[in-house]
């Protein structure tokens, strides 16, 4: 009971203050017929040593102690995290605090969020950003809900190249409210078919949703899409699952996007089997009052010193209850802090250099893989791309595992029509030698 300081001896005097004799007597507050009379069915407690061993063996299960080389991306990116990030996250004044309700003793969290909001604005070219939401997928869902509030329209045009997880989550969030989410097809260049978009647009559309770079790793013409959406009075929502691309790509806000959201995992958050990650959410100033989530603002204290507080909270559930702009009640503060430290550490130059390195390695991989497959979806890409294999992706990918290579994601999981395509991601963590190995290994397994 190392986490529970009060021992039996301490209880006695405390119990007498509350007029009880035994600790178990406290259960008498509960109606008798509801009291549990047997112990919970749980394993026996473990010591710290045993616990760590149990979890270590679970975490290594099936991995055979091999050094695995991964080319998986598809919305969760394997980037190197500088040591400073975790050292700062482990400051327990950060991670054992809660929501900064009391600003006088929460200036650390508050200033960090203010800095995070600013970086997200700079990265996306937007005016305001919130303190973060759960993940990239719920950020898209919240953006769609916000567009409905702003436009009072319920029809949405969603690119099929929005991350499939974001598509599904948006579907779940909006289904009970009766929104119509219509998929927009992609073209042979691996980008959203803007002609199809043009055709589908009408005066009843609240917003168009695109991902930049899209799920195939290809670049979208955000400016053109924005002009199309705006000509019909619709908003453009741009989602970014790999924000590192924004170190090189023009900010969506400067190309006409009205709401820019995305997933911040790439910046300083580990893969963690899918979470926790951190959704970022930014918009034009005019839409501030319709935004979901927590916001931190600058103010002054009684002595005129700069300080930070939670601001514009009259949109939020603890005040507005059923009329709130969202039901979200926290953010992902610690994950946002990781992203903040990461962006600060790399800074203006470093982020660009890193993005160029990702691009260069992915281009090299394309060159090496060209002879063993083809690029049917051929538009410009950032650090991932679609390769059409000569053979069945499932059998090729599972055979690559024998060589310690996790070759990418078979796209038929989400796109049944892409029966031979895989999505390959190359980051700074993949060396030239690893890329060469992948090309050779795929070549050996290809049908001729």
């Amino acid at each position: 009971m190392r986490y529970i300081p009060n021992a039996e001896k301490d209880w006695e005097s405390m119990l007498s203050v509350v007029g009880l004799r035994r600790l178990e007597d406290l259960a008498a507050i509960l109606p008798k017929d509801l009291r549990l009379t047997r112990p919970l069915d749980l394993p026996s407690p473990l010591s710290e040593m045993e616990l760590l061993e149990r979890l270590r063996s679970l975490s290594e299960k099936g991995k055979e102690g091999k050094k695995w080389v991964s080319f998986l991306g598809a919305g969760a990116y394997n980037h190197f995290i500088p040591a400073v990030v975790d050292h700062l996250l482990r400051r327990s004044e950060f991670y054992t605090a809660y929501t900064p309700y009391q600003p006088e003793i929460s200036q650390g969290t508050l200033q960090a969020i203010f800095e995070f909001q600013t970086l997200i604005c700079q990265l996306t070219g937007m005016d305001v950003a919130n303190a973060s939401v759960y993940d990239g997928a719920s950020a898209v869902a919240e953006a769609v809900l916000m567009a409905q509030r702003l436009k009072s329209r319920k029809r949405f045009l969603i690119s099929r190249l929005l991350h499939p997880e974001s598509q599904r989550v948006t579907q779940t969030y909006t289904h009970p409210l009766g929104f119509a989410l219509e998929p927009i097809a992609y073209g042979g260049d691996g980008a959203t078919d803007l002609q199809a978009l043009e055709k589908a647009l009408g005066a009843d559309v609240a917003a168009v949703v695109l991902q930049q770079p899209n799920f195939f790793g290809c670049l979208e013409d955000v400016e053109k899409a924005a002009a199309m959406a705006h000509s019909r009075g619709a908003l453009l929502i741009v989602a970014t699952q790999e924000p590192l691309a924004l170190a090189l790509l023009q900010a969506p806000g400067l190309l006409g996007a009205d709401i820019a959201v995305g997933e911040g995992q790439s910046f300083g958050n580990g893969l963690n089997f899918g979470g926790p990650y951190v959704g970022f959410f930014a918009a034009k100033e005019a839409y501030l009052r319709a935004m979901p989530g927590r916001l931190v603002g600058e103010t002054v204290d009684r002595d005129g010193r700069r300080g930070f507080v939670l601001a514009v909270a009259t949109r939020e559930q603890h005040i507005r209850r059923e009329k709130a702009t969202s039901n979200i009640c926290t953010n992902q503060a610690l994950c946002a802090l990781a992203s903040l430290v990461y962006m600060t550490t790399f800074g203006k130059q470093g982020l660009r250099e890193l993005a160029e390195m990702n691009l260069s390695k992915a281009e090299y991989a394309k060159k090496r893989l060209g002879p063993v497959g083809s690029f049917r979806l051929s538009g410009p890409t950032f650090n991932e791309f679609v390769l059409t294999l000569k053979g069945d992706p499932d059998s090729i990918l599972s055979s690559l595992l024998e060589e310690g290579l996790i070759g990418g994601l078979a796209l038929k999981k989400f796109y049944p029509e892409l029966s031979r395509e895989i999505l390959i991601c190359v980051t700074e963590r993949n060396s030239r030698e690893e890329i060469d190995r992948l090309a050779v290994a795929i070549g050996q397994r290809s049908e001729t």
């Binding site: 700062l88 997880e165 979470g275 603890h318 992902q332 600060t344």
Partner: protein, 493 residues
């Protein structure tokens, strides 16, 4: 003699923003040399797609980054700093071994789309955690997917809606007690439901009569928190559930206060249909300054088909994700939820076991009742009954001297404590909601009680001192009105 000129350096009590620090050309990172040909984005991409630079981004060295954020951390107050009796938030101690467990490379570097063979350990952990949460709560099935309590509420209400829709009518209304967290009505309304508020009675709990009066065939569900936000057990819960079920409705339980019940009673055994857990409250995962948490949801067997996809299935020695669930509400978030938070909660449950969890709840109850008994008389106790894990006072006695709950909260900071939750629940005017948890030694509780008594005396003898608090913090009381009237939500040069 002339006065010395004021120094224009930045005093140690201030920390500039990252945008005001560093300088051009400074680097805090290192990258390996490029081992492939350098690609030219301007040759690969259309011209209009490129940007020159991310304007405004900082340039700082590693040591500057470390000092900046270390200093910010020092201006925070966490559970590791001291007593944090923030009611309804269960700020219990966050065991350090759980931090290490979550960072085991096999977990931390696992990609969510790893092939099944390489993710067996992660799946097994999740499967077992689901089992343990079911055992603790008496629910039949659990999803770990929701990111937080509020998303758990949404998940639960979506399942109820889908279940009722399958029976012909999703219905239009949801009953929410006046003591409920704001997320309850917000989540209901996100599900397209109209919220009907139900008053709690003079004992601070729901009365079967009030529920019966509002319950009809158009009510989809009652959302109840048990124990409720007054720290009181909903003593009529079984009769209330019968009334709701009698009219074909479902009962949702907000599990925010589950820390009161571990091993003592089970929500599922009461007849509740859906329950969400807050792993960051009951199961000791850190609150992170406001997330990440995790809000798993447990359901009874009639709702199992509606759980979000994927559901983890055990087949012999192996585990797999099952997406083929035609009645599922779909996905509520990307991938499978806040996995690293689950690892911590799993570690906590394995460390404490059945006996430890029960001890945690009993000691949490003892600590809360001890504070209640000792502060009674110094502060107004609007509902004077034995409490569960938290007790709710009000500022009524101090109002006579012009001192409010906010002032008391601010004055507590001067004495080194985090304040309790204030002005919630809404049914108590000027509420002070104190949740000590099981993590505090008797002496700490004693010091807190002494300080609270001292503040009640100060309110009488020197109200100005309390009204102008805090006096010892890095900043004094902040102008929140200004922050709302003229929002400055980002730095600008």
């Amino acid at each position: 003699m002339s006065e010395p000129q004021p120094c224009d350096c930045v005093p140690a009590s201030r920390e500039l923003l990252i945008f005001e620090k560093g300088g051009a050309g400074r680097k805090g990172y290192s990258l390996p040399g490029l081992d492939v040909e350098k690609a030219q984005p301007e040759k690969l991409w259309p011209a209009g797609f490129l940007r020159k630079e991310v304007e405004g981004f900082p340039e700082m060295s590693e040591v500057e980054v470390i000092r900046h954020f270390t200093r910010l951390s020092q201006w925070n107050y966490g559970v590791d700093s001291g007593f944090y009796p923030l009611g309804s938030c269960t700020m219990k101690y966050n065991p350090k071994i759980n931090e290490d467990a979550a960072r085991l490379p096999g977990f931390a570097s696992a990609h969510p789309y790893l092939p099944a063979g390489l993710s067996q350990g992660a799946l097994q952990m999740m499967f077992e955690l689901e089992r343990h949460l079911a055992a603790v709560s008496g629910m039949d099935g659990v999803t770990l997917q929701p990111s937080a309590g509020a998303q758990g509420e949404l998940t639960g209400m979506l399942m109820i809606r889908a279940y009722l829709a399958d029976r012909g009518n999703p219905r239009r209304k949801v009953l929410v007690p006046d003591t409920a967290h704001g997320t309850n009505p917000a989540s209901s309304s996100l599900c397209g439901y109209q919220v009907v508020q139900v008053k709690s009675n003079e004992r601070g709990v729901l009365s079967p009569e009030n529920i019966a009066a509002k319950m009809d065939e158009d009510v989809a569900a009652l959302m109840v928190t048990n124990p409720n936000t007054l720290g009181l057990f909903e003593e009529h819960i079984c009769r209330i559930i019968d009334i709701v079920h009698g009219k074909g409705g479902q009962v949702y339980c907000d599990g925010a206060n589950l820390n009161a019940l571990l091993g003592l009673t089970r929500i599922g055994d009461m007849g509740i249909d859906v329950l969400h857990f807050n792993l960051h409250k009951t199961f000791s995962t850190p609150h992170g300054g406001g997330g990440p948490g995790a809000g798993p949801v447990g359901v009874k067997s009639h709702l199992l088909d509606y759980l979000p996809v994927p559901v983890i299935q055990q087949e012999g020695e192996n585990y797999r994700f099952d997406y083929d669930r035609p009645k599922s509400i779909g996905k509520i978030r990307s991938f499978y939820g806040n996995f690293a938070v689950m690892v911590r909660a799993f570690a906590y449950i394995l460390s404490l076991g059945a006996e430890g969890l029960k001890r945690a709840s009993l000691v949490a109850l003892l600590n809360a009742n001890y504070i209640r008994a000792r502060l009674k008389g110094f502060y107004h106790l609007p509902y004077d009954f034995p409490c569960m894990h938290e007790c709710v006072f009000s500022d009524k006695l101090q109002n006579a001297y012009g001192v409010t709950a906010l002032d008391i909260a601010k004055r507590l900071m001067d004495y080194g404590f985090h304040p309790p939750t204030i002005y919630f629940p809404l049914v108590v005017h000027g509420a002070l909601m104190i949740e000590p948890t099981e993590s505090e030694p008797k002496e700490m509780l004693g010091q807190f009680i002494e300080v609270m008594i001292q503040i009640s005396r100060e309110a009488q003898s020197n109200p100005k001192l309390v009204r102008e608090a805090p006096h010892q913090t890095k900043v004094s009381r902040l102008d929140e009105v200004l922050a709302n009237r003229k929002p400055r939500l980002r730095w600008k040069p």
